[in-house]
Symmetry: C2
Subunit: 345 residues, 2 copies
DNA sequence: AACAGTACTGGTAACGTTTTCAGCAGACCA
DNA sequence: TGGTCTGCTGAAAACGTTACCAGTACTGTT
């Protein structure tokens, strides 16, 4: 038997209509379950759809309809377990409202950020959730401004772009609590390691850190501040530097969950025992923090809730919400074995 | 000059053409840098584009062109750090060839898997990379079969669907090495905890496990096999059960990096010291494994390479490669402090 | 009986692109 | 001079939908 591999280039509505012996527009009505369509027509069309193996073309549909029912999500770092939860929370919420989500990651690269915004804009997404890699980059701001669709920022404030809603974390509150706790344990030489100062979470954490010192009338140990990037290698390098100081810190705050890995590597390399030689607090409760020996105290937050909040804000704008709004999710300090009173010699 | 800030509801090529005083088709030619277009025309059109603020509509373009230059990636679990690396590897490779990637996650839910395949198909993606949650689910197979575009499976073999390329991990080799190592340390009561048996990695790991026992003429301890899901809670529950046995294991193999978290929780709760009371090997080198006390031996593999391989296979098919191919990435055993000789009483 | 409304259907013009086809210069060759 | 060729451009037909506008056949009201 000779197979005629007609590739079946995918049947269209036109062929469905022909097969059912009805008009093209009737098929469309059935598919979009328009109110005014008879039982008979319903069956006829559905049978024809099954018969020819019709598959809707969302490109054509979106083009005509003028909306894609899709929102974009640009994650700055997929490998951060926190983002996975944010994405999850957002996706569930969007699903409920019939939107689907396309996820892209910028790998923390501002240029990719820019490219992704542009790409999604050209794809005509209906809305965008993102957490830009650099709040001040002109190119990013320009791309965002060209976007007519609603935007929700996650833990970012982009200078000169005030038409977006945003969901913030109370980083300063969390960091203040963490710092106060260390101070109350007697620590004074407390180091803070975090990402680039151009990011809101970093600025906020620093604020909280400074506030804790201020309320006690103490000087912030400026020489122990290290801002670079939210990466394990930076955490490792910064920690190694700090340990090598003449007057090294007695406690370290790791402002970012990926940093923690690096910090721990450096402490291990430097033969410092966590909790014993040096106290440690990190941000975001990842398995590593919980299962480390000793377990590591963290400033935690509900990432799923963040995603949910972001999606809700976006849906609000999509539904015609006129002015941007802001949501804030709280942080809470989880105390574990890594924070101990300062040993007095 | 008075700036007329008309909101410019997105200029189209038509308006560019009008502004430049040329034909629509000429604008198109310039944009797709067609060979036959004069210098003058180039400038004229580009000026007009800048003037009216034109932005290409990829929906229309894809519809007309018949291809989206986009491949889909369905991740079964975004929160698995391994997937992040696979995605990274794939995305980089695809980028080079001018394809972009849309990422979705199925949360390990077979129904979502199915829905995502259907959605992407309707979006007319040019190809698909995925790792289905359930290899035997008829619905998934049906959805995949309806897809005319090339598919690459990651660590999965779908029964009755042989038109896809695939990238496999040498799980059986890795697991065999791990098992042999434990046997050589004197362990005989070795437990294996892994995901659902309907997944290739689980089957392969079991094969390697069994092979190691077989070559020594030993019986596989059937009562110590636990297959359920790749999740922390399952790892915890299975481990707790194993510890409660009359003749508990002296070594545990965690066949999945998310399982490890649960296994460690259960061991902690059961007051067992890793390496001392019980030896432990996990799969995939995550920070938790490296930084645990003691560090945990793992069967590792290069996840970025997996993504790269998957993308390469897909690109091959997209370029007209007629028949599906298979790539295999190796595993290697990293020995650390969690595996110790069996203590003799 | 005339009219207005209701329930349904068909035809057709968009949506914003790309691609084919034909046309028009001028150049080159014989 | 006539001819084909080459470089460039414009017009128009797709791509697969949805939405609008009529039109038809009933139903109910006065």
């Amino acid at each position: 038997m000779k197979h005629e591999y007609v590739t079946m280039k995918g049947a269209t509505m036109k062929e469905v209509a022909a097969h059912a012996g009805v008009a093209l527009s009737s098929v469309s009505r059935v598919l979009n379950n328009h109110p005014d369509v008879s039982e008979a027509m319903q069956r006829q069309v559905h049978d024809a759809i099954a018969a020819v193996g019709y598959e809707p073309n969302l490109l054509a549909s979106s083009l005509r309809r003028g909306s894609t029912e899709t929102v974009g999500f640009i994650a700055s770092d997929i490998s951060n377990p926190l983002f996975a939860e944010i994405v999850l929370g957002a996706e569930r919420r969007l699903d409920e409202s019939g939107y689907s989500m396309v996820l892209t990651n910028s790998e923390g690269n501002p240029e990719r950020d820019e490219a992704m915004i542009r790409l999604l804009r050209r794809r005509r997404i209906d809305g965008l959730i993102l957490s830009v890699a650099d709040e001040d980059r002109p190119g990013t701001i320009a791309e965002l401004s060209k976007l007519a669709e609603p935007v929700v920022l996650i833990d970012r404030e982009v200078s000169g772009f005030h038409t977006a809603s945003a969901v913030f974390t109370d980083h300063s509150g969390g960091m203040r609590a963490a710092s106060e706790h260390l101070l109350s344990l007697g620590h004074r030489r407390i180091a803070l390691i975090s990402g680039a100062r151009s990011l809101r979470p970093v600025r906020e954490r620093l604020k909280g850190f400074e506030a804790a010192f201020a309320t006690r009338g103490l000087q912030v140990p400026e020489d122990l501040l290290r801002f670079g990037s939210f990466s394990a290698p930076f955490g490792q390098q910064a920690t190694a530097e700090l340990l090598a100081l003449d007057d090294p810190p007695t406690a370290i705050i790791s402002g970012g969950n990926l940093l923690l890995t690096g910090v721990l590597r450096a402490l291990q390399a430097g033969q410092r025992s966590v909790g014993g030689d040096i106290s440690l607090i990190s941000c975001d409760d990842v398995p590593l923090a919980e299962l480390h020996t000793p377990p590591i105290s963290v400033v935690d937050r509900d990432a799923v809730q963040m995603g949910d909040a972001a999606a809700s804000l976006l849906l609000d704008l999509l539904a015609g919400g006129d002015r941007p709004r802001v949501a804030e999710v709280p942080t809470h300090l989880l105390l574990r074995g890594s924070t101990q009173p300062l040993a007095v010699d």
